[in-house]
Amino acid sequence: MEERQYDLIFICRPDTPEPDIDKLISTLEHAVTEKGSKIEKIEKWGRKRMAYRVHKLQEGFYVYMVIRSSHGELVKELERRLKVSDPVIKYLTVRLDEELKRQDKLKRIRERRAARRPRKSAPAPAPPATGEQSAATL
């Protein structure tokens, strides 16, 4: 199967001691590498205020990781683990490779177009207004 890229974010209870979170991350890491998949990135965003209350908690400890895998089953397994583990209050997996592919494609098209016509007709001086406008509409 083709390799796919996923974003995995999970939120732990804010009162979880950090060693526990590290332990959880390493078990996930182990689960990923075991199946011959890769972890591209792990970021601990730390304690953040959530936009709404989850389990009566206003804050959460965010952890973000990027995974490359060619086994779809892996995501299932990771989500199962996250669901079972106590400190995790919320998680989200997003498949991103198709969007990244689209992004690459658009970028290439733009570059090709830029190369074809190098005449730059007055780079728009308009942008500054846009921020105020959308603020005004609120």
Partner: protein, 105 residues
């Protein structure tokens, strides 16, 4: 009976909503002083965004109403394509509590 019906029908033909065709040089607009609505530009097109990141809540937040509704295109001036991406990004952000489903309490 027939006579009564006729006068009733006669005033009907000119429809209530009928507007005179807008003339290019109306009496209200005088040359340069005509009212011009500021054209809204899609912010993502200005930035040449190929991808709207759901993780950047601060970028998405201005496109929400105070109560957490997604603002329509006609308010923000976002182009169709970017609005499509934007809604997906906002919905993802909502799911991981970066943005509210419904704000305020």
């Amino acid at each position: 009976m027939a006579e009564e019906n006729v006068p009733q029908q006669q005033p009907a033909p000119p429809p209530a909503g009928a507007r005179p065709h807008s003339k290019p040089s109306g009496p209200v607009r005088r040359g340069k002083r005509s009212f011009v609505r500021k054209k809204k530009v899609c912010r993502f097109c200005v930035d040449k965004a190929d991808f709207i990141d759901y993780k950047k809540a601060d970028i998405l937040a201005p496109f929400l109403q105070e109560r957490g509704k997604i603002l329509p295109r006609r308010m923000t001036g976002t182009c169709a394509r970017h609005q499509r991406w934007l809604t997906v990004a906002i919905k993802r952000a909502q799911n991981i509590a970066l943005l509210p489903f419904a704000a305020g309490r």
